[in-house]
């Protein structure tokens, strides 16, 4: 399986700030009633973007800059700390990715969300608290501003400013080498898998 090498994403950015943004907020459970991921993009952050009266409300994803990300199918979402906490639903990163975002920069990420995003080829990079505040302020002041997410060089830059970024080494390695979907590696040595299985009494039926 040949995958793109994701070394750097340079695209317009939209800030969706706030800490502990959970996956129910990213994609409410009613949209999980489906057997494919098709169409999830338009419902990303649905209940944050639409009021109980059904009317659109002020939200970073309801802006022309976010619409431009959707059109370009390329964009950087700037988020807070512990982003994507809560459920394991891959529907959450799927909805963000299908909306058009191809990289996420935040303070920290919930582990399952991070893994799900990486498996989609969406890099999630972390900045320190102060650096993230600076980036968020820049993007909020000028929505749609170009942000460079350098996965290989471990930095994020915008408007002449540049900050040191982190991402777990295995995820970075997979992204920059075009091996972010692990299936090829996992299928690579069936003999080793069988050997491990045979050593486990509850699997081997011993």
């Amino acid at each position: 399986m040949s995958l793109a090498k994701i070394t750097l994403v340079r695209a317009s950015a939209v800030a969706v700030p706030g800490d502990d943004i959970d996956t129910d907020r990213i994609i409410p459970a009613r949209f999980l009633r489906c057997v494919t991921f098709d169409g999830l993009g338009e419902h990303a952050f649905r209940d944050e973007r639409t009021g109980p009266d059904g009317k659109e409300r002020a939200h970073p994803l309801n802006t022309p800059e976010a619409a431009a990300v959707s059109k370009a199918k390329k964009g950087v979402m700037v988020v807070g700390f512990n982003f994507g906490c809560g459920s394991s639903r891959e529907h959450a990163p799927q909805s963000i990715w299908r909306f058009g975002f191809t990289a996420i920069v935040g303070g920290s990420f919930a582990e399952i969300f991070f893994g799900n995003s990486t498996a989609l080829g969406v890099p999630c990079l972390s900045l320190s608290k102060d650096d993230l505040a600076e980036l968020t302020a820049l993007v909020q002041k000028q929505p749609g501003v170009e942000v460079t997410v350098d996965v290989e060089g471990l930095k994020v830059s915008c408007e002449g400013r540049s900050w040191k970024a982190t991402i777990p080494a295995a995820a970075r390695d997979g992204l920059i080498n075009g091996k972010w979907d692990p299936i090829a590696d996992l299928l690579g040595d069936d003999g080793a898998v069988n050997k491990t299985a045979n050593g486990l009494a509850y699997v081997a039926g011993k």
Binding site: L32, S87, S108, E111, D185, A197
Partner: protein, 468 residues
């Protein structure tokens, strides 16, 4: 060298090191359900792959099943489509399906233990973040995404990096009216909703030794709410007694061998932990959430925090929470009006939860202003409860007695809050919109506290209501 259970299980299941430095880890037991598996089966078909170990894969249906409509087709055509997709996928690939007509269907994290599928020293994965529940048996159990469900279907392995281990010790006896749910809500309150990122939680100490397996499941279940992807309790005699005689439990001579093996997985005395945190059971009081994350919690007899008392990082989320919850900082939560009482979920939908709730509910009535529903987590639980007459206790008090499923924990079926209703809930998440209404409000608490709220029509201290 002395090792933790986590290290021993990891080592026994490690297939090989992958080029990116991660470990290819064998997953001995794969649990699947209707929400996060259909896309994975789609990927398997698209890639022309097979299910490598169909006999180690077990399916049930829980998230979308209606609890008051037992006949198909369901009134929600999408729910019908999802259950039929799972029937087809399990049939096509030869996977055991605990379907609705078998008397064994239920929330996936209840079916595994009930069937004896969940065993010590094993690895378990499921496309659901509450998979840590199975850690109560001394298993290493991960919640995974759909792409990973595909990985496990196709290879019975996952690409993972090892976790650090934090031992969380709770010692002493819980006071009357204080439950396992209060213990985990308190742990999350203290360590934070992101405190567990990068860790597996090992729960230990005399409080856990004294807990039943069902109580241990309640705590392990909410590890993810504390940011920890898995949590476990070392296996002991209670663990083995719980498993013995269940359909998938080892039999005869195999049983004795299995018990010896299971014992060997427990953390060794003197093993090294990356972190140790200790709690005194006597300090824990009935705990309720007031906000929109499970860490925003107080003891029932405390005031909710003043915004000024919080650090910068927490203040913004708290302000957002107060606005959503329509509650005021620095006031008691006790006395807040309750509209709905929900008793159920993989956190607190087991038979011991129903028994304890019924014990206090018996002879009392639900407040006329409250809609109260009780949803057994599984069909086996429901059957046992009926056998004990618990359903009558609930219905005579004014609770609606429902069929098994996830129900109003996440409101993917028709059980939903309406408008800004406030729900006293025995479930695990109080996120905005979690219970099906964008403006709905959730207060998490123990089952007995849910009963107290249902009776009084307000967030109440069960110790006062029931004079315990």
């Amino acid at each position: 060298m002395a090792k933790t259970l986590f290290q021993k299980v990891w080592d026994a299941h490690a297939v090989r090191k992958l080029p990116n430095g991660q470990t290819q880890l064998f997953i001995g037991t794969h649990l699947i359900h209707e929400v996060t598996s259909p896309q994975a089966f789609g990927m398997i078909r698209d890639l022309g792959l097979k299910v490598k170990y169909p006999q180690r894969t077990f399916a049930t249906v829980d998230h979308i099943v209606p609890t008051n409509e037992l006949r198909e087709p369901y009134s929600d055509p999408i729910a019908q489509e999802m259950i039929e997709a799972l029937r087809k996928n399990t049939k096509d690939f030869g996977i055991r399906f605990f379907d609705t007509n078998t008397g064994t269907q239920g929330i996936v994290h209840m079916v595994g233990p009930e069937q004896g599928i969940t065993q010590p020293g094993t690895t378990i994965a499921c496309g659901d973040s509450h998979t840590a529940t199975h850690g109560a048996f001394g298993a290493i159990a991960f919640g995974i995404g759909t792409t990973q469900v595909r990985d496990v279907l196709a290879t019975q392995t996952l690409a993972l990096s090892p976790l650090k281990v934090r031992r969380i010790e709770v010692n002493g006896r819980l006071a009357p009216g204080v439950y396992a749910k209060d213990v985990i809500l308190h742990i999350i309150r203290v360590l934070g909703v992101n405190g567990g990122i990068g860790y597996a939680y090992e729960y230990a100490g005399s409080t856990f030794d004294a807990f039943t397996l069902e109580e241990r499941m309640t705590v392990c279940n909410m590890s993810i709410e504390g940011g920890a992807r898995c949590g476990y309790v070392n296996p002991d005699q209670k663990t083995f007694d719980y498993i013995k005689g269940r359909p998938y439990a080892p039999k005869g001579a195999d049983w004795d061998a299995a018990v010896e093996r299971w014992k060997s997985f427990a953390s060794d005395p003197g093993c090294r932990y990356d972190d140790v945190v200790k709690f005194d059971a006597a300090d824990i009081r009935p705990t309720v959430t007031w906000g929109i994350t499970p860490g925003q919690a107080v003891f029932i007899d405390e005031k909710m925090p003043a915004l000024e008392s919080l650090n910068d990082a927490d203040r913004q989320t708290a302000a957002d929470a107060y606005q959503h919850m329509k509650l005021s900082p620095d006031t008691p939560i006790k006395g807040t009006k309750v509209d709905v009482a929900f008793l159920g979920s993989c956190t607190n939908g087991r038979i011991s939860d129903l028994r304890e709730a019924a014990k206090y509910l018996k002879g009392r009535k639900v407040s006329p202003s409250v809609k109260a529903i009780v949803v057994p987590g599984s069909q086996l639980t429901a059957i046992q409860a009926v056998k004990e007459g618990l359903d009558k206790v609930f219905t005579e008090a004014g609770f609606e007695w429902r069929g098994a499923g996830c129900s109003m924990c996440l409101a993917m079926n028709p059980d939903k809050l309406v408008g800004d209703q406030l729900c006293a809930s025995s479930s695990n998440r109080n996120f905005k919109g979690r219970q099906g209404s964008q403006t709905g409000r959730t207060v998490l608490m123990s089952p007995v506290m849910v009963v107290a709220a249902a009776i009084t029509g307000q967030v109440a201290d069960a110790r006062e209501v029931f004079k315990v």
